[in-house]
Amino acid sequence: MDNSAAYAPRSGSGRTLHRFANPGRFLRLSGKVLPWLSALGLSLTLIGLGWGLFWAPADWQQGDAVRIMYIHVPSAMLASAGYVGLAICSVFSLVWRHPLADLAAAEIGPVGAAVTFICLTTGSLWGKPMWGAWWVWDARLTSVLVLFFLYLGHIALVRAFDSPERGARAGAILALVGAVDLPIIKFSVNWWNTLHQPATITLTGAPTMYVGMLWPLLFSSLGMMFGFVAIVVARTRAGVMERRIRGLLLARAQQEAGTMVDMVA
């Protein structure tokens, strides 16, 4: 049987994807990009949050509580965007067996869960003075809580297997199934009567927000996005190096075991 096709170089997008799957190339590239991502993330976040906290005007109705928005809205956007990243990595992992996609997905999980936690707690802290309740079983809040559990489930499932590959496959399937929650989060405020307000910023219309509040929100959103990517890249770099360490230690142990067997024989 001719197996040459199986070993032939992949063409088109497959070859491009596998070019970036090389861990050595990823370490070199990410090493150059990471300081810039971190610096951008830190500086834009500090500018956005400082501006929002000290110089942006208070809301005529909500008063100073509106300043929680500069954390809550970026973390809500990142919670969903992080899950989109997780789902994309899962596709790469299941379809192309991209080795870096498994590692990236495993590292996106905890960071995504953390931003979803920030989104839920800051939302609760904003809800108490505005709605008079820490929590309501509203469609938007509940669907974001489901997203948080999906992240936790992904973290647990990836670590539940002795074989990292099997854990990654199971996690990828869960991530793809869970992606159905993303449109529910997005459109929950339109589909149902919710206590949570509808979107203020949309892709199709002009924002219904005072420009003096929009700019700090833009800065903090961009800063937190760069910070999120920087943390995921740093964790993935660590994951790549840890996998290499495990491989080297395993090869060394096998070599030593082989030498012992030879000596006994």
Binding site: L27, I68, F117, G227, E242, L248
Partner: protein
């Protein structure tokens, strides 16, 4: 009604979680780099 405690709590929680994850990623990367350099000096990047 003052909103200051809610605002401080929101910014405080966000700061603690962000700093925790940043420092953890930084330390983990440094630890992995040192271990890799000790095991395989050619693998140092």
């Amino acid at each position: 009604m003052t909103h200051l405690p809610y605002i401080l709590a929101a910014y405080g929680i966000a700061a603690i979680v962000s700093v925790w994850f940043s420092v953890d990623a930084w330390l983990r990367m440094g630890r992995a780099r040192r271990r890799l350099a000790a095991i395989d000096p050619r693998g140092q990047r």
